[in-house]
């Protein structure tokens, strides 16, 4: 019998919603050439159906209480203790909603975005495969299944980052992303070794049940190694360097994988393993700290970017820092809430950016934009609402979720984290509005690109605009309002009540009585946001700033401090510390040790055998008298031996 969080039994529904995207992937991969455009519709349809099924399974997923919560579907068993199954409980349900729901919108959007690409069908095969992999990750009821999903989403992201694989930069980015994610997988593998060695089971239920009994050291080790995986997947420092490069992929990919879903897998992992973190204060401190640091670093780096997608990438990194921090310190509802809201407004941001890039013939540098508010008003409103939401302007979704996280840090007794987050909030406001102002205000600065695009209209045949606009429009609603609907009302908001059976009441876990109230927190955050907004306005939006925007921007990019242009030297360090030494070692072994030492030893043996042969043959002079002499010499030795041996007793 397989332990699990869920009630035992079978639940075909979850099986179906899990496998449908895989089916789509296989069909699109195998029959892509025949399907052509149909593949896009098919893929989005199947993902959509899984979303419907996920909604349909709501009640079953949230039934039950405490130990046995949600619906469970056993799959297979390798060995005793190695049982696999699917589990649908509130936590995985939330993720399933985002994966399939937002996933559906983005896949649908892609039909337009990828229109006319030479590998159209392959793209949708990969997208469907990603949805399947991500579902595997969140639906597994055990650590190995989780790891399988973990690896497969990494693969999907690898394929999609390197989708345009004639571009060397894309290929390199894909490889970097994969290898760093393998570092994460390896960390999780080690966690699994620890778990199996101590609990003799890979099943969440069994492991969490045994968690309190584990020694603090083991528990801390498990949490840390698990978090290595989380950090790699969720771009936490120092394993974040792949995320900005990942923007080489098509924009819908960035929206779905590198904003809404995959990169939040780390959040899911920590939330899923809440029982472990609850029992290891050290782990909470570590993860909370790294989360906050990532949030800050991401925000700082975001201020120094000009590529619209890279800005969004760093903002993603920073926002995930918030989430990780939240779930890390124990404010699980807050962290998940921020994930939930972020999924909407960040997807919206990327898709909005996609609209712009699509229209400007792949122009991604905001310095070459400007004045788009008049040219593309829809995109402007899309971006504006999303920016307001991400900055946590009161009333927008981001406001509720972010405040929950930040206040959670204080509730669980991490004042420094709390302070950092508040500062970060300000910086976030600055670079997001910077993006908005530079791209949309003032005069258009990209005539060249524009002309180029106009010159050859066949360059990128435009799909019917609605395919791309509709999903974005749909996203606006939740990214604006979902917070107000679900997360308003603190302790007894629908959100809190939804997760109560899983995590217990927040107050019960809050360990410190916060010195300042939630209201004060809100005020502080709001003030810093205003400051950030003000600076951005002063630098990019004022009349004077608009006047000589081109010159100002050039000056700014020239005067950018080296620390920022080199992205705080993270890549530089990794290159120097790991990549180069490994290559030099390989060269040493392969060019020196192998051929000259180990192989040389054997070649020497052969040489000496030959030498011995020539020595032996050198006695064969052919002179019979010499032979006779040798014979007699040998005989003499014999006779001497026998003469002596005769004496010996």
């Amino acid at each position: 019998m397989s332990h699990s969080l869920g009630v035992t039994g079978t639940y075909p529904l979850v099986l179906t919603l899990w496998l449908l995207p895989l089916l789509g992937a296989i069909i699109c991969w195998a029959f892509g050439p025949q399907l052509r455009t149909m593949s896009g519709w098919l893929a989005s349809a199947l993902v959509g159906i899984s979303f419907v099924l996920a909604v349909a399974s709501w009640s079953d997923a949230t039934q039950g209480a405490g130990g046995t919560l949600g619906a469970h579907q056993p799959l297979a068993s390798w060995l005793p203790g190695f049982d696999f199954g699917l589990l649908l409980d509130p936590l995985s349900l939330i993720w399933t909603f985002i994966i399939t729901g937002v996933g559906f919108l983005i896949v649908f959007y892609s039909i337009g975005y990828m229109d006319g690409d030479r590998a159209f069908a392959r793209f949708f095969a990969y997208m469907s495969f990603f949805v399947f992999a991500m579902l595997t990750l969140v639906l597994s009821d055990n650590f190995i299944g989780l790891l399988v999903g973990w690896g497969l989403v990494g693969l999907a992201s690898y394929f999609l980052i390197g989708f345009w694989f004639e571009r060397q930069s894309a290929v390199a980015a894909a490889r970097k992303a994969f290898v760093i994610n393998v570092v994460g997988d390896v960390g999780m593998m080690f966690a699994i070794f620890l778990i199996v060695a101590n609990v003799h089971s890979i099943n969440f239920g069994a492991v969490f049940a045994a968690a309190p009994a584990l020694s603090a050291g083991v528990l801390f080790a498990i949490c840390v190694t698990l978090f290595i995986g989380a950090a790699a997947k969720s771009a936490q420092i120092p394993l974040h360097t792949w995320l900005p490069d990942a923007m080489e992929g098509p924009t819908p990919v960035s929206a779905l994988i590198h904003a809404a879903t995959m990169v939040t897998a780390g959040v899911y992992l920590v939330a899923r393993c809440a029982p472990l973190w609850d029992h290891s204060h050290g782990a909470q401190l570590l993860v909370g700290g790294i989360g906050a640091a990532t949030a800050l670093v991401g925000a700082i780096l975001g201020t120094a970017q000009w590529d619209i997608k890279r800005i969004l990438a760093y903002s993603t990194m920073s926002q995930i820092g918030y989430m990780i921090m939240g779930v890390g310190v124990g404010a699980y509802e807050g962290g998940i809430a921020h994930f939930f809201a972020h999924a909407f407004f960040k997807a919206q941001l990327f898709l909005g950016a996609g609209l712009i890039i699509h229209a400007l013939a792949d122009e991604q540098d905001i310095r070459a934009m400007g004045g788009l508010r008049r040219r593309m008003p829809f995109a402007f409103w899309v971006m504006l609402t999303a920016v307001l939401s991400i900055c946590g302007v009161p009333g927008f979704s981001g406001f509720f979720s972010k405040d929950a996280v930040i206040y959670g840090a204080l509730q669980h007794g991490h004042p420094w984290v709390y302070a950092t987050d508040i500062v970060t909030a300000g910086i976030t406001a600055y670079y997001m509005f910077r993006l908005l102002f530079v791209a949309f205000l003032g005069e258009y600065r990209g005539e060249a690109a524009q002309a180029h695009a106009a010159a050859e209209p066949a360059h990128r045949p435009h799909a019917p605009a609605w395919i791309m606009n509709a999903p974005v429009a749909v996203l606006i609603a939740p990214s604006v309002a979902i917070g107000a609907v679900l997360m308003f009302g603190g302790e007894n908001s629908p959100w809190q009540r939804f997760f109560a059976p899983l995590f217990g009441a927040t107050s019960s876990r809050a360990i410190a009585l916060p010195p300042v109230s939630e209201g004060v927190t809100t005020l502080l955050v709001f003030i810093t946001v205003i400051i950030g907004f003000a600076i951005a306005w002063q630098r990019y939006a004022t009349r004077s700033a608009q006047a000589d925007a081109v010159a100002r921007l050039r000056r700014e990019s020239e005067r950018m401090p080296a620390l920022l242009t080199n992205l705080l030297y993270f890549d530089w360090l990794i290159e120097r510390l790991f990549v180069r030494p490994a290559q030099q070692l390989g060269a040493l072994f392969g060019r020196v040790l192998d051929p000259h030492v180990f192989d040389g030893a054997v070649r020497d043996l052969v040489y000496w055998a030959r030498w011995l042969g020539t020595l032996v043959r050198s006695f064969q002079t052919g002179l019979v008298r010499a032979y006779a002499l040798i014979l007699v010499a040998g005989a003499a030795c014999f006779i001497v031996y026998y003469a002596v041996a005769a004496g010996v007793r």
Binding site: R617, Q620, G622, V624, R625, A628, L629, V632
Partner: protein, 101 residues
């Protein structure tokens, strides 16, 4: 007077050694062959001496057989030497060394 057996052994040994020496140092195959005969005869001497010592005629029989065989050997040996050196005017074993290595 009776010659002690030790002397016979010593004498035989000396003859044998002369034979060995001859084979090694002399380059004329005929003389080498003779030296070999010398070695064989050393053996014969021992056999006869011991036969006398033990009053065992097996020794004598052995000696006779050896003599016969030695004769045959000499015959074949001479034949071979003749065929080998028929072309040359001087006979020197050191000239035959086409086989080596």
């Amino acid at each position: 007077m009776v010659v002690p057996i030790g002397d016979y052994v010593a004498l035989a040994a000396v003859i044998f050694f002369i034979g060995v020496f001859g084979v090694i140092v002399r380059r004329n195959p005929l003389i080498m062959l003779m030296s070999i005969e010398l070695m064989l005869n050393a053996g014969n001497l021992l056999l006869v001496a011991f036969a006398r010592l033990w009053l065992q005629n097996a020794g004598q029989i052995f000696a006779f057989i050896v003599i016969t065989v030695a004769a045959a050997e000499a015959a074949i040996g001479l034949a071979i030497i003749v065929t080998t050196f028929r072309p040359e005017r001087f006979v020197d074993v050191d000239d035959v060394r086409s086989l080596h290595g």
